[in-house]
């Protein structure tokens, strides 16, 4: 089973995933028309800024066991085992925010949603784009990510890839390959700027 994997070291902070996510969870499904819908669709992935203002795409981890599911009083939160996805039933949700208090990642939002009951504020979070997956599409945030900060792959294969990457860096004579010197330079400068500001 494929899952969304986040590679935070590659995120350039463009927020494309946020736009794609909001558009994917809109009534019309297209960005140009989604921006004028009511209620306005909102992203379920949130790009935050790290210590050095580097981007970080923050999305639901679909934890197992899921603290939000355990905290949900009316039992609106459940797990779809086939896709390993934690979902919220919008009809059962009572908008009490218990799930948000339990969530260590802060990825649950409360608003009326284009795909929820009309006019009802409900808890909304990433649903792994299961509607898109049913159509054979990959999650919208991954599709739109141009830098590989979000990938959709089998967990085992991803682990293997990472293991090999680490192994190669441990080889004798290994020179750390910098795949994007420009991006590294930008991050170095951002970091230096931050540090100068903090030290004065």
């Amino acid at each position: 089973m494929k899952q969304v994997i986040v590679h935070p070291e590659r995120c350039v902070g463009c927020m494309q995933c946020m736009l794609a996510c909001a558009a994917a969870h809109s009534k019309t499904g297209a960005l140009i028309s989604a921006i004028s819908e009511s209620p306005r669709p909102k992203p379920r992935i949130h790009v935050g800024a790290g210590l050095y203002d580097e981007g970080f795409p923050n999305r639901c981890r679909h934890c197992n066991p899921a603290p939000c599911q355990m905290a949900c009083l009316p039992g609106a939160i459940y797990r779809q085992t086939t896709t390993n996805t934690v979902l919220i039933n919008p009809d059962v949700c009572i908008n009490c925010a218990s799930c948000a208090m339990a969530c260590p990642y802060g990825v649950i939002r409360y608003h009326a949603d284009p795909l929820g009951p009309a006019g009802k504020t409900i808890a909304v979070k990433c649903d792994n784009c299961i509607a898109r997956q049913h159509k054979g599409l990959i999650p919208a945030c991954v599709e739109v990510c141009k830098v590989g900060a979000l990938t959709f792959e089998e967990m085992d294969a991803a682990m293997k890839k990472k293991t090999d990457q680490v192994a190669r860096s441990m080889s004798a004579e290994a020179i750390a390959a910098d795949h994007a010197p420009g991006f590294s330079l930008l991050n170095t400068i951002k970091r230096a700027q931050k540090e100068i500001n903090l030290s004065r």
Binding site: Q16, A22, K42
Partner: protein
């Protein structure tokens, strides 16, 4: 895996895409696919890279930032970006015009061997508009004075450009009232860059108004000078037969292709290609002769004035190299994909860049200036002939089609018997419902040529006369609409009128700078009726536009009073205020608006509806659409 039928409606295009696929050469469509999905912030016009406090973007869904670091909101950011697009487009046309004025000045000083004044009558006519009397002077003296006067149009010394007096009096008054009368060609572009700098003009309405002024400085300035001076130097176009599509390449001849926009280089290349000495040289090398063909607008310039065959438009430029039949492609500037030399590297085609303003990776640079252009042209054509020996397999997929080009305003009015009256009479009688200018580029977002050809087909069926330029003009010629027999595609009224004049229902007006010919004709029609351009049953369309120049063109056409339908959406949807202003509000301001409609079938309905509305307002018979 490419799906060539989804990319283009053209037979030659489909076959050449297939060939590039089997040759494993990347095309513009492959690169377009690799760019998907494209950035939504930029697509909406909500990203700003203008200063180093940024880059900034505004979240259209309201979760993220709603203002840039400077405090610019969505309206300001979208308006600033759009203004900068107009400025870049106007700058391109301004530079193009300036290069021709430079040649005119050097011809006057006898410093440009090979160049000459071809249309003295037009020289004197344009000079008179600049207040220069021709009597008792040699053409060179007149040319010198005219070049000097035109150079002043580029600067800061004037309150109004000289050629705005061609616009109807009412239109000029309106521009003065709105304070969008263009003062200097470069001044308006420069001011646009100033206004869009952080902390200058933060009124989205005033920004957009200046954008219109900047565009007008292109339409009634830079582009108009480019067209008029090209006519003076190289001849005013007259209708002449030509051939179009990839089939214009010849398997047994040295094929030289010019690509770009400026006739300054391509005219000299043509002269060299037509020299019997060069033909002899080609024959010595085993070729049957030298075959010069055009691409894009520099091709349109040669087609209009000399009937030089046209190999294709913007999205054909890579494909045409894949024929393996081109010895040399000579480029000047604008719309030349830097990818071309990569394609050429897979075949034997030599790529030559010629402009001091435009270099390309992997091209040999042979810089042309007015004083050395003739010699350089001979040098490169000789090298093209040498290259014939290196030719491998060729694949010329189709037979060329006939077309007629060369409809300058002078030629059209001439065909009508010296006045625009017969055209007006045909419009009044309802035989011709109105006229539409279909202009602009190709864009891989729209199936190649589908927008141009479908819209043209629907409009002529509905008795709307179509004039076109640029890539659109090449598309409709390839579709077979530019021969006298094409009246079989037209409605009964248009068929009758064009049939009696012996002209096609779709008139080739030239290159993209030649859009000013449409302005001049529209102004002449309005003046003949004693009214304004915005009262006429006219429309404009850019069904497949891609370039910043097209944004400038669209803006000056609308600011001149012509309703214009765009195919691709410009990056403005991030501000509903801007969208609202351009599609509705401008009607109150300049008497014309933009519309966006990617589907040419629907665009045709919009245009037909607009033209009938205009007829109704003029008191002519009108149909409900």
């Amino acid at each position: 895996m490419t799906h060539h039928h989804n990319y283009t409606i053209t037979k030659d295009g489909q076959l050449l895409i297939k060939k590039m696929e089997s040759d494993q050469v990347e095309t513009v469509w492959d690169r377009h696919a690799a760019q998907q999905p494209q950035c939504g912030f930029c697509d909406l016009g909500l990203s700003c890279r203008i200063c180093a406090m940024g880059p900034c973007r505004v979240d259209p869904f309201g979760e993220g930032p709603q203002q840039g670091v400077c405090g610019a909101d969505a309206d300001i950011i979208v308006a600033r970006n759009l203004c900068r697009m107009i400025a870049a487009g106007a700058a391109a046309h301004s530079d193009h015009g300036r290069d021709l004025v430079e040649v005119l000045a050097e011809v006057a000083e006898n410093k440009a061997p090979g160049y000459a004044i071809t249309d003295t009558e037009k020289l004197n006519r344009v000079a008179a508009e600049y207040g220069i009397a021709a009597d008792g002077k040699t053409p060179e003296q007149v040319a010198g004075e005219l070049a000097h006067a035109m150079q002043e149009d580029f600067g800061t010394r004037k309150k109004e450009l000289a050629l705005v007096t061609r616009a109807p009096e009412k239109r000029q008054q309106l521009w003065r009232k709105l304070n969008i009368m263009p003062r200097g060609i470069d001044r308006e572009t420069s001011e646009a860059m100033h206004r869009t700098h952080m902390g200058v003009d933060n009124g989205w309405q005033s920004l957009l108004l200046h954008g219109l002024r900047n565009a007008l400085s292109d339409g009634w300035g830079g582009s108009m000078i480019a067209t008029e001076v090209s006519d003076i130097l190289f001849g005013t176009p007259k209708p002449a037969p030509t051939k179009v599509n990839a089939g214009v390449l010849k398997a047994d001849q040295v094929n030289v292709v010019v690509h770009g926009h400026n006739p300054v280089v391509s005219e000299m290349v043509m002269a060299a290609c037509q020299d019997p000495e060069m033909t002899k040289l080609a024959e010595e090398k085993g070729a049957k002769g030298i075959n010069l063909c055009g691409l894009c607008c520099t091709g349109n310039e040669l087609l209009m004035r000399h009937g030089i065959p046209m190999a294709g438009n913007h999205l054909m430029t890579e494909l045409i190299i894949a024929t393996g039949a081109i010895e040399m492609m000579i480029v000047d500037y604008q719309c030349i994909m830097p990818a071309l030399s990569k394609v050429a590297a897979c075949y034997h085609t030599k790529m030559i860049s010629t402009s001091d303003k435009a270099r390309f990776p992997g091209m040999e640079h042979v810089e042309f200036h007015p004083d050395n252009a003739r010699k350089k042209a001979y040098d490169v054509v000789k090298a093209a002939i040498e290259n014939f020996a290196n030719r491998g397999e060729t694949y010329i997929p189709v037979e060329p089609l006939d077309a007629v080009g060369g409809f300058s305003v002078e030629a059209v009015v001439g065909a009508l018997g010296g006045t625009p009256e017969p055209l007006l009479d045909a419009i009044k009688a309802g035989k011709i419902r109105g006229a539409a200018g279909i202009v602009g580029c190709n864009n891989p977002k729209i199936k190649h040529d589908y927008g141009h050809v479908t819209l043209t087909k629907r409009l002529i069926e509905n008795d709307i006369l179509v004039v076109d330029t640029g890539c659109a003009a090449v598309a409709t010629a390839k579709a077979g609409f530019k021969v006298a027999d094409a009246i079989s595609h037209a409605g009964p009224g248009l068929k009758e009128v064009c049939g009696s004049l012996g002209i096609p229902p779709v008139l080739h007006f030239g290159s993209c700078v030649d859009n000013v010919r449409i302005l001049v004709l529209a102004a002449a029609l309005a003046n003949a009726l004693g009214t304004d351009i915005s009262d006429l049953p006219l429309a404009g369309a850019a069904p497949e536009w891609y370039s910043e120049k097209a944004v400038s063109i669209g803006a000056y056409v609308v600011a001149s009073g012509i309703y214009t339908v765009l195919g691709p959406m410009p990056p403005i949807a991030g501000s509903m205020n801007v969208v609202e202003l351009l599609t509705k509000g401008l009607g109150e301001v300049v008497g014309a608006t933009f519309a966006v409609e990617p589907d040419p079938e629907k665009a045709a309905v919009l245009i037909r509806g607009h033209i009938e509305n205009q007829r109704r307002k003029l008191g002519l018979d009108a149909t409900e659409v």
